[in-house]
Symmetry: C2
Subunit: 300 residues, 2 copies
């Protein structure tokens, strides 16, 4: 661990995933000063490790938690700050924010993992001198989720979005596949989440050849989500992240998008409109968490 200058302004990030947690400390310029990654085990053990990490940094002012969900984000709700009805064993109804506030006595910002990533991409676009007013960030991995920003604000009045669970038009060559979503069967997540590879072609995504037609089927569905956002939010850009998305797949999604939209509305060149994350190595959420924390600190 590097020593931090005690007078330096620092902020914290907790990327709370279902498999692993990434805790990080950053400075005013979004530079990571220290970082730790550990497996997600029981809430008691995992949250204690979060506390131990941040206790080493008394001058971390605000900490943003970007968590797997569903989580309660309505501030006037009795369970604000909780992970709520997750199927993840042991994590149902865990008072994430309450525990951290008690142990660390610092302001905690609470949002979803994809919201953290969306905000990170919003900031990254500014840093890259390609600022946008709005964007949507999808992750396609074990599940499918998304966050959206309009005029700098994350959207969601009644709670955070659950954009992975919309219904889509079925691909004619895929009508027999029932989908894997326990709630909806063949919603978007049920049709394109990572585990669908094993159900459809009997192997893991990373082992499926890029020429396998299953990729075209996946692109057909994901493109529908991109069309939806294009017609509903009319954002400046749409970012596709998560383990399932690679460059060849991205091109397939762009192609399907072009066909489906059929030039109905004007969009930027697809190479800049539908992209992979600007921040490399899955760092979008950490950057977004730092930026959200700095924003809150500076507003005070």
């Amino acid at each position: 661990m590097r020593k931090s200058n005690m007078s330096e302004l620092l902020v914290g990030s907790v990327e709370a995933g279902g498999t692993k947690f990434v805790c990080a400390v950053g400075d005013e310029h979004y530079q990571v000063k220290d970082k730790v990654t550990f497996a997600t085990t029981t809430p008691q053990e995992t949250l204690a490790r979060v506390v131990t990490f941040f206790k080493k940094f008394p001058n971390v002012t605000v900490i943003t938690v970007a968590s797997f969900g569903p989580i309660e984000l309505r501030k006037n709700h009795a369970k604000y700050g909780y992970i709520t009805n997750t199927p993840k064993i042991g994590w149902h109804d865990v008072d994430f924010v309450g525990y951290l506030k008690k142990e660390l006595a610092r302001p905690i910002i609470f949002t979803t993992d994809v919201n953290g990533s969306a905000y990170g991409e919003y900031v990254a676009a500014r840093i890259a001198q390609q600022p946008v007013d709005s964007l949507v960030y999808y992750t396609v991995g074990t599940g499918v989720g998304a966050g959206a920003i309009i005029d700098g604000q994350l959207i969601g009045t009644l709670g955070h979005p659950e954009m992975g669970h919309v219904l889509v038009k079925r691909h004619p060559d895929d009508l027999k596949f029932e989908g894997i979503c326990p709630f909806h069967g063949d919603c978007l997540e049920g049709l394109i989440a990572g585990p669908t590879f094993e159900k459809r072609v009997g192997k893991k995504g990373q082992d499926v050849d890029q020429s396998d037609p299953v990729w075209d089927i996946m692109a057909y569905y994901l493109a529908q989500a991109v069309v939806q956002q294009t017609l509903i939010i009319r954002p400046n850009k749409i970012i596709l992240g998560g383990g399932v998305v690679n460059k060849i797949f991205l091109d397939k999604v762009r192609l399907q998008f072009k066909e489906q939209l059929n030039n109905y509305v004007e969009v930027p060149k697809l190479e800049v409109y539908i992209t992979m994350p600007l921040v490399e190595n899955n760092g979008s959420a950490t950057l977004g968490d730092f930026a959200l924390a700095l924003k809150q600190y500076n507003q005070k």
Copy 2:
């Protein structure tokens, strides 16, 4: 025409539809002081009638135009204020705002017909002491369109939404119907716009018995749009307007919505969450136009 008090603050509304125009003058309390309705003919003739109407009211300060589209809403665009690539004969590339500004020399607010209605419903909810932060307003008539408000702001960065053209999962009993959208075939509009009744069952919507299964098919599709908004925007309420929507159909949509969402996220009671417009007699857009004009006037 009633005489208006010359010192009174007045605002204007132009509801510009493909079939008819409704021009209205209102006061600070959203009360209609005068109103005229005429058929949409050529742009020259129709816009001249708009000008003639408002010239009678020199103390109308700001006029909001809620127009059929597509229209150009990006203020930095060379064609800001135009009706752009509409299929409506004669109306392609008409400089709606430019003409009114030149003839009337007053500030003009320009938005879509559904945005005007969405804003009207937003204001109506406040007047009814049931304020909301966000809502989505759909119209299902000759076409399908929608406007959305988040925290009081109409959404759409690259232009106005075109929410009617999303793809949807096909109903198993409707797979042979190709849809009527010239751009997308079986997008939402292609499957549920008013003219689909004649294609599917050979008569106009108002003549189709409520027990005809075609209504269940339509509800299946419209419910998907409601689910989409529920999962993307998480709004406080979703309003279904337009000639196709009636109370029995609304109940069918609620039923399908409940099945499709499968309690995945919490929403208010469906009787208040999915509703018909609060403003009666298609008055939502006029109210919204008045309110948008008053908002701009008061900001100055």
